[in-house]
Every structure is written in C-alpha cells, then in structure tokens.
Amino acid sequence: MNDDSSAYVRAVEERAPANVALAGKGVGSPKPRRAGLPVALSGLLSSKWLGLVVAVLALALPYLNSSTYIIQIGTDALIFVMLAVGLNIVVGFCGLLDLGYAAFFAIGAYASGVLSTKCGWPMIATLPVVVAASVAGGLIIGGPTLRLRSDYLAIVTLGFGEIIRITANNLDFTGGPNGLYGIPDFGDFGLRSDVAVYWVTAAVVCVAVLFSSRLGRGRIGRAWRFVRDDEDAAEAMGIHTYKVKFAAYIAGAVFGGVAGMLFAAHQTAISPPSFNFLWSALILMAVVLGGMGSTPGVVIGALAISLLPELLRGAQNWRYLIFGLLLIVIMVFRPQGLLPARAGEPKRRRRGGVA
C-alpha cells in the first residue's frame, strides 16, 4: 500500500526534473552498444542523404506511376506531411500542445479559396494574404494564452479550432455549410493538371521540411528546446520565453496556412467539415507517433498516418479507436516516439562546413 502511494511522492519530488524533455528522455544516459541492424538503421536515419533520397523519390513519383489515384493520395500525403512538420515546430520543438491546428489549415484554405473564387485572384497571388491571415490568427490566439500555463493553451486552441469551423459554416462569403468550390490550381505548366498540382505541392513541402528542420537546429531551435525542457531555467538564462514561444506558434501557424492553400488548390472544393477536431487530432497523432521534435520521425509518422487508411479501407471507426489507444500506449511506454530526436547538437565538421 505504502509502496503504491510513494509513487505519488516521487512524482511530486521530481516535478522539476520531470520537466525534462520528452524527446530527450533516455537519450542522455550512455547507451549500451548495439550491433548489426539497429546500428545500420540508426546510421541510415541520421544520414543527411536520407532526406535527399526521400525528396527525390517524392519529386519523381509521377515518373514512377502517374495514375490519377496514386497522384491523388500522394498529394494528400504530402500536404499531411507539411501539416505534421508545422505542428512539430509547436509541439515537438517548443512543447506547446496545440489541439486546434486545423484552424490554421482552415484559415489558409479559406483565405486562398475566397480570394481566388470571389475576387478572381490567381492562386499564387493569394500566398501573401494566406501568410498574413495565418499570422493574424496566431497573434489573436497566442497573444493572450501563451502567457498562461501550457494546459490552458491546449484547451483554448481546441476552442479556437471550433470557432473557426463554426464561423466558416455561418458566414455567407465562405459559402456556409456548402463551402467553396471551383477553386483554381496553380496553372498546369503544360502538364496534366493533377500532376502539376502534385509537383508544386512536392516542391513546397520539400522546402518546408528542410526549413523546419533547419529552424529546429538553429539558434531559435535551441531556444525552443530549452523552453520545452525547462522553461524556468531558460528564463533564468536570459531567453525571453514568451517571445520564443510566440515565434514557434506563429511559425506553426504559417506552415498550417500554406498547407491549407495547397489543400484548397488540390481539392478545388472546401467545406467546414474538412477542418474538424479529427484533423487536428490526426496531425497530433502523426507527430507523437513519429517522435516529437524529430523531423525524419515526424515525416515518416505523417506518411504512415495518411497512407495506412488507403490500405485499410472501410474500418474507419476502428481505425480511430486504435489511434486513440495508440496515443495512450505510446505516451505510457515510449513517450519519445518511434524515431526519437537525438539529444545534443549535430556534429560540426569544421568551420565553414555543413553545420
């Protein structure tokens, strides 16, 4: 009985050190030497060539198989990767739980959709407005709540996601419950139109993944991880935690908004139910499954979450049930995710080399 209870005391005593990174858990202690396959795999995963190979594969997909179905699910998967990478900045790097990420996705999709269908703007010209609208959304929600405790942020973002969806449903210029349709794409560049959209998406997503991973490794990325690991220590070391958290939140918002624009161009029709809580939860699932804070992990997690349903069609509700249970199981047994981020800085070869 007493042994049982003492778990709680341990918890209380360790409250402060317990703030230590999820992603870094178990990585700090020296690892036992592994041999054979795991080493090879781990080397492969940390290799900088892996990203290049995946990017080339993604760009070359239409040459490998250009059936409409493959291009369709390929584009969907890439947009999902972009969303997961964006959420990873907020949740993985900075440790802020955003449960309404689909709101930014919706803001981007609707901003570009409304401007292109109602005002006749070309799709690419809506990009600045999409970015500005996402930043504005991030400011409105992040401004008041990032000063509060992290769990308040989670529930406020959940409420924000609902507000955006219901607003889109109720307003006239967003098309109400029917949504918008006939959204143009980026132009076909003399190609089949779905392939053109695919290539634009693939290029944008590759740049986004690279950008987020480099953000995470740079000065601001170190600040994010410091805030995530121990906010008080970070503050004491002179990091303006509020600004740093704000930066992460806004960066995530912009990623979500641009992904929404790609989504609108790809789907050509958008409606409020596309942006419900289910989406936010699935994106979070991808980030948690892959490993919070680890870019390769998150990309693979996102591909898994978006492509698996194609293999297991039909059993929708079962799938979500399993996702929910999986979230609990991962958090209890492997909180760092399947492909955790490495602790410590990447190796520098020499000055001027690839840092």
């Binding site: 005391v9 929600i141 992290s150 409420g159 507000i163 609990i328």
Partner: protein, 299 residues
C-alpha cells in the same frame, strides 16, 4: 419582461447541466492538476450506459421519473467505475511524466472513448427509449416544463451532496488536503492514490448523471455529444476559477445565462462561438476566474 424571465430560466437550466460536468473537471484539476479531456466523453458514456440499461430492462422499469432515477444511479456507478479505471490505466503511470505527455494521453483517452462507442453502438445517433414530457409551469409569463424543473432539482441535490461531502466529511478533508500538498498528506498517513481514485469516481459519476439527463431530455444521443459539452464545462470551470467547486457551479450558471442571452441577440448558430470567445476573453482578463485564488507556481 416575459422574454427576459424566459431567457433566465433557460440559462439556469442549461447551466445546471454544465455545472454537473464542470464539477468533475474542476475536482480532478484541483487535486492532481490534470486537465481530463476525456471528461466530456464520460458524460457521453453515461448517456450510453443509461441507454444500455434501458434497452435491456425497459419493460421492468416502466417509464416516468422513478425509472429515470434508477437508471441514473446505475449509470453513475458505471461511469464512476470507468473513471477509476481510466485514471489507473492512463493517468497514474504518467504522474511523474512531463505535463505534455499527460495531456496527450488525455486526448488519446477521449478519442478512444468516442470511437470505442462508435464501434460498439454504431456511428448514428440513438433514440433514447425514455422521454420526459408532461405539463409546464408558467412563471410570470415564462414557461418551464416540470421535466426541466425536476432535472434542475436533481442537479441541485447532487451538487449540494457533493459540497457537503467535500466540506464536512473525512474523505472530503483528505481531498482538500491533497490539493494543498500531496506530499505532506502522504506523510500524515493519507492514502493519496485512494483519494485520487475516489475523486475520479465522484467526478465521473456526476458527469454520467448529466449524460443520462441529457439523453432523456433531448431524446437523442450520439458518440460525439461529449465533445462540445466538455469544452463548455471547461469554460465554466475557468470562469468560476478552476479547482474551486462552488466556483465551477457559479461559472456554469454564468455561462448558461451568457449563452442564453447571446443566442437571443446573435442567433443560435453563434452559440458555441460566443461561449468559446468568452473562454478566451476570460483567460486573457482574469485567468484565475471569479472565485479562484491567485496561484503561484512553484518551481
């Protein structure tokens, strides 16, 4: 004037539902500082538990309020037990984990509950086999049905009972003590784990009661019905001051009234936007709520 009284009565009625759910939120948060996202889904579970009991034993119970109370008691025991299991399986292993992992676990629990019910009962709404109807009472031109009155009475009884339990009994004293300092409680010989389990039982049971009442009143239940009410209950708890039980009830009534007036001015399609807007506003202006005390976070 008549219109005004009607709005107030509607607000109080909705507020009493919110209060039952908000109490559980607030209680759990007060004790272990955990936002139990699955709480709204426990409300949904209560509605389905009542539905199951009714489908199995519909004939034996007959109709009417007596049957409703029996079903409610059964559903409360069921959801209470479920809350205890949930805490044991999903939350207790993570008590010394970072806050983010616990939050994610809670989201997972909520997701699993929703789709677990969708798989078991099918995704379509179920019609509640018991309805409450009957006459209505006119108060100064406003109308309130006896069913509404009875449900508000049940809610008030449950809330008063909970308040007495927390303030007057030994068990309640243990709960209050743990919310102040769990470590000292353990040193004083309080069985902390057992008290936390008990808290989950009480909170979940109240949510279950609200679920059965909602099923009987609205006549239709579905597996996503807990999502919005969970958010609303959280809003109510924040308005009142999270962790404070009387505050949760006050916040729920305030929220019910605000919504009732908001709907009258803006139209019902903006009801949820209005409520969540208030949540954001309140967190900005007064994050400690109406009755909450200033909490200093210890490092």
């Amino acid at each position: 004037m008549d219109h005004l009284i009607q709005l107030i009565l509607d607000g109080l009625f909705v507020g009493s539902f919110y209060a039952l759910v908000a109490l559980g939120y607030s209680m759990v948060y007060g004790i272990i500082k955990l936002l139990n996202f699955a709480h709204g889904d426990i409300y949904m579970l209560g509605a389905f538990a009542g539905f199951t009991v009714l489908s199995v034993g519909a004939g034996a119970l007959g109709g009417g309020f007596l049957a409703l109370i029996v079903i409610m008691a059964l559903a409360m025991v069921g959801t209470g037990a479920f809350g205890v299991v949930l805490e044991r399986v999903a939350y207790r292993p993570l008590r010394n984990a970072p806050r983010l992992s616990v939050l994610i676990t809670a989201v997972g629990a909520s997701f699993a509950l929703e789709y677990g019910i969708a798989v078991t009962f099918g995704p379509n709404p179920q019609v509640y086999p018991i309805g409450v109807s009957g006459g209505a009472l006119g108060i100064a031109g406003a109308r309130i049905t006896y069913a509404q009155l009875a449900m508000m009475a049940i809610a008030v009884v449950l809330m008063v009972a909970l308040d007495a339990l927390v303030r007057k009994t030994r068990a309640g004293r243990a709960m209050r003590a743990i919310s102040l300092d769990p470590k000292a409680c353990l040193l004083m010989g309080v069985n902390v784990d057992r008290v936390i389990s008990r808290t989950f039982f009480l909170g979940s049971a109240l949510a279950g009661a609200a679920g059965v009442m909602a099923g009987a009143y609205y006549g239709k239940i579905d597996f996503l019905m807990g999502f919005v009410i969970g958010l609303k209950a959280f809003t109510a708890a924040v308005i009142g001051g999270i962790g404070n039980l009387r505050g949760a009830v006050l916040g729920a009534i305030v929220l019910g009234l605000l919504e009732s007036f908001g709907v009258a001015f803006l139209g019902s399609q903006w009801r949820d936007v209005f409520a969540f807007g208030f949540l954001i506003l309140f967190l900005t202006v007064r994050p400690t709520g109406l009755l909450g005390e200033r909490v200093t976070e210890r490092v």
